[in-house]
C-alpha cells in the first residue's frame, strides 16, 4: 500500500501565486484610477479656490468666466443641470416604470423578446447621436408646436436625455420586479386581486427599493450627461424657468472651456476642476444613495 502524500507543496505551485498577484493588480487598477481622479480634481481645484472664495463660487448666481467682468457663481450652471435632470426625469421615470410593469407582468414571451433588445439598443447609441437627434428632430418638432422655442433650448435636451436614461430605468426596474417571488403574486391572485391590482399593490411595492435605485442611477446619469446637452441645450448660463430658452449645464461649460483656447493655469482653466469636482460630488452622492436603496431592497427577501 502506498502512502498518501498530502504535504506535497508542488500542488499549490507558483502559477497559483502568480495568478493571484495578477488578479489583485487588476483589481487595484480601478481603485487607483478612482483615487487618481479625485486627487487630480482636488489639486486642480485648490488654486482656483485661492482666487475665488468657495462661498462666492457655491452661492453666486452669475456665471461669466470667459467674458469680462469675470464672475464665478456656479449656481447658474447648476440650475441648467437641474433643469435637464428634472425634465429628463419627468420623461424617463414614469415611462420607464410603466414599461417595466408591462414587461414584467403583462408582456408575453414574444413581445419581451422584441422589446428588451430594442431597449438595449437605445442604451447603446452614442450620446453625440442623441444630441444630433435632438437638434435635427426634437427641436424642429417643438418649434412647430411652440414657436418661441429657440434653436438651442432646455426642453429638447431634457427630452433627449430622458429617452437616453429610459432603458436604465425600465431595465433595472424590470429586474427588480422580476425578482419579486411568484408566491407573492399567487397570494394576491388567491385573494381575488386583478392583474392590475397585483402589479400595483404587490409587485411594485415589493420591488420599490430596486425601482428607487434605478431612478437614482438614471438621475445620476442625467447629471453627468455631456454631449447631448452641450449640443442641444446651448451655452448660455441663466437661471430661468423658460424651458424653451437656451441654458448651459455644468458639463456643457466644461466642454466649452476644454475645447476652447484658454491657457493652462489661467483661472478659466482652473475653474474646470472646481466644476468637475462639484459634478463628481453630486454623482457620487447619487450613487451612494442608490446603493443604500438597494441594500434595503435585499433585506426584504433574505
Amino acid at each position: 500500500m502506498s502512502a498518501i502524500d498530502i504535504t506535497d507543496d508542488a500542488v499549490t505551485d507558483r502559477a497559483t501565486t502568480v495568478a493571484r498577484g495578477v488578479f489583485f493588480a487588476c483589481a487595484v487598477v480601478t481603485v487607483l484610477t478612482t483615487l487618481g481622479i479625485i486627487l487630480v480634481l482636488v489639486t486642480g481645484a485648490v488654486p482656483f479656490f485661492r482666487d475665488v472664495s468657495p462661498v462666492t463660487f457655491f452661492t453666486g448666481a452669475d456665471w461669466s468666466p470667459l467674458i469680462r467682468p469675470y464672475s464665478f457663481g456656479v449656481l447658474e450652471i447648476v440650475w441648467g443641470t437641474m433643469m435637464i435632470v428634472v425634465g429628463s426625469a419627468l420623461v424617463a421615470l414614469p415611462i420607464g416604470v410603466l414599461t417595466a410593469i408591462y414587461l414584467s407582468e403583462y408582456a408575453g414571451e414574444r413581445v419581451r423578446r422584441v422589446v428588451k433588445p430594442t431597449l438595449e439598443i437605445l442604451a447603446g447609441i452614442p450620446t453625440i447621436v442623441y444630441g444630433f437627434f435632438a437638434i435635427s428632430f426634437i427641436t424642429p418638432q417643438l418649434q412647430r408646436v411652440f414657436p418661441e422655442t429657440g434653436t438651442f433650448n432646455a426642453a429638447s435636451a431634457a427630452i433627449v436625455v430622458g429617452i437616453m436614461i429610459l432603458p436604465m430605468v425600465s431595465s433595472l426596474s424590470e429586474d427588480a420586479m422580476s425578482a419579486v417571488p411568484d408566491e407573492l403574486r399567487n397570494a394576491g391572485y388567491g385573494l381575488g386581486a386583478t392583474k392590475f391590482e397585483v402589479s400595483t399593490t404587490v409587485v411594485v411595492p415589493s420591488a420599490l427599493s430596486g425601482i428607487l435605485a434605478s431612478f437614482i442611477l438614471a438621475i445620476s446619469r442625467a447629471i453627468g450627461e455631456t454631449m447631448a446637452v452641450a449640443l442641444a441645450a446651448g451655452m448660455n448660463p441663466t437661471i430661468t424657468l423658460d424651458v424653451f430658452s437656451e441654458i448651459q449645464t455644468m458639463t456643457a461649460y466644461m466642454v466649452q472651456v476644454a475645447t476652447g483656447d484658454v491657457s493652462a493655469g489661467s483661472i478659466q482653466y482652473q475653474s474646470l476642476f472646481a466644476v468637475g469636482l462639484t459634478l463628481f460630488v453630486m454623482t457620487l452622492a447619487m450613487n451612494l444613495l442608490s446603493q443604500y436603496a438597494r441594500s434595503r431592497y435585499r433585506e426584504v427577501y433574505d
Binding site: 417571488p181 408566491e183 407573492l184 399567487n186 397570494a187 394576491g188 391572485y189 388567491g190 385573494l191 381575488g192 386581486a193 386583478t194 391590482e197 399593490t201 404587490v202 411595492p205 415589493s206 426584504v300 427577501y301
Partner: protein
C-alpha cells in the same frame, strides 16, 4: 358575487336541526382531467366535497392532489401549460363556464399556500389586503382583529400590527396567511400543505386552527402527512400516482378499513 349564498336557506335549516347530519355538497367535480403539456396530472376525477367539513387530499408526490386544489379556484389559469377538461361545480355552478370571472371565483374561494407568503407589508396590511381589493373595507380594524383572532394569532401580534409580516416566525407567518385568507370571509378555504414547512409545535397549532375553521368554512387541505389527515379531517380522498382518485370517504373508514389494497399499502407505508 353571484357565486355566494345561492343555497343558503336550505343549509341553514339543516344546520338548525341537530338531528340531521347530512352535510350539503359545496364542491362537485365531474370527469375532471388536467394536463401539463403532454403529461396528464388528473384523470377523470369525480367527487363531492361537503360544506363546513375538513376534506383532506392525500397521496404521494406528483399524484395530482395540489393540481386538484388549484382547479377549484382556477389558479391553474396562471400556468400556461395547464389544460383543464371536465367540470368543477361550486354550489352547482361550473367554475370553468365562460361567464365565470376567475377573480370573482377567487374571492369566494380563499387559498393558503405551502410556503408562508406574507406580503412585505405590515401585519395589518397583510390581513386587510383581501378586504381592500374586494371592496369590503368598512370596519377594517374590526375585521382585521376578527380574522387574526380566528387564526389564533391576535394575542401574539396585537401590539405590533404595524411591524412587517416578514418579521414573524414561520409558524406565525402561516397563521398570518390563514388570517389573510379568511378575512374576506370566503365560502371555501383551500390549503396546499400549509404545515409542511413548519416545525412540529407550529404544525400542531395550525392543525387545531383548521379543525376550528370547519365550523364556519369548508376546508379542503392537501397534505402528504397521513397522521395529519387522520387527525383533522372528516373526509379523506386518496390520490395515487398518475392522477387517479382511488378511494374517497369518511376519514375513519379510509384509515381503518380501506376498500382498496393500494390505499391500504399507501396508508400503512408500504409505498409512497
Amino acid at each position: 358575487m353571484s357565486l355566494e349564498n345561492t343555497t343558503q336557506p336550505e343549509t341553514e335549516s339543516l344546520a338548525n336541526d341537530p338531528a340531521i347530519e347530512t352535510p350539503e355538497t359545496i364542491i362537485e367535480t365531474r370527469d375532471l382531467n388536467v394536463w401539463y403539456d403532454e403529461t396528464q396530472a388528473l384523470r377523470d376525477i369525480s367527487m363531492e366535497i361537503p360544506e363546513r367539513k375538513v376534506t383532506a387530499l392525500i397521496g404521494p408526490s406528483g399524484c395530482g392532489k395540489s393540481t386538484f386544489l388549484r382547479c377549484v379556484n382556477r389558479m391553474n389559469d396562471l400556468i400556461d401549460a395547464a389544460r383543464v377538461e371536465g367540470e368543477v361545480r361550486l354550489q352547482g355552478k361550473n367554475v370553468y363556464d365562460d361567464d365565470v370571472d376567475p377573480v370573482a371565483l377567487r374571492r369566494a374561494v380563499g387559498m393558503v399556500f405551502q410556503e408562508p407568503n406574507p406580503f412585505p407589508k405590515s401585519i395589518y396590511d397583510n390581513v386587510a389586503y383581501g378586504l381592500r381589493v374586494q371592496g369590503k373595507d368598512d370596519n377594517l380594524d374590526e375585521k382585521v382583529e376578527t380574522a387574526l383572532r380566528r387564526a389564533a394569532l391576535w394575542d401574539e401580534v396585537s401590539d405590533q400590527l404595524d411591524s412587517s409580516g416578514l418579521d414573524l416566525s414561520g409558524g406565525q407567518q402561516q397563521r398570518l396567511c390563514i388570517a389573510r385568507a379568511i378575512a374576506p370571509d370566503p365560502e371555501v378555504v383551500l390549503m396546499d400543505e400549509p404545515a409542511s414547512a413548519l416545525d412540529p409545535v407550529a404544525t400542531s397549532k395550525i392543525e387545531d386552527l383548521i379543525e376550528d375553521l370547519a365550523s364556519e368554512y369548508t376546508v379542503v387541505i392537501v397534505t402528504h402527512n397521513m397522521q395529519q389527515a387522520a387527525r383533522i379531517s372528516d373526509r379523506t380522498a386518496v390520490f395515487l400516482t398518475g392522477g387517479e382518485l382511488v378511494e374517497y370517504g369518511d376519514t375513519e373508514k379510509i384509515f381503518e378499513n380501506p376498500e382498496h389494497q393500494r390505499v391500504e399499502d399507501y396508508i400503512t407505508g408500504k409505498f409512497g
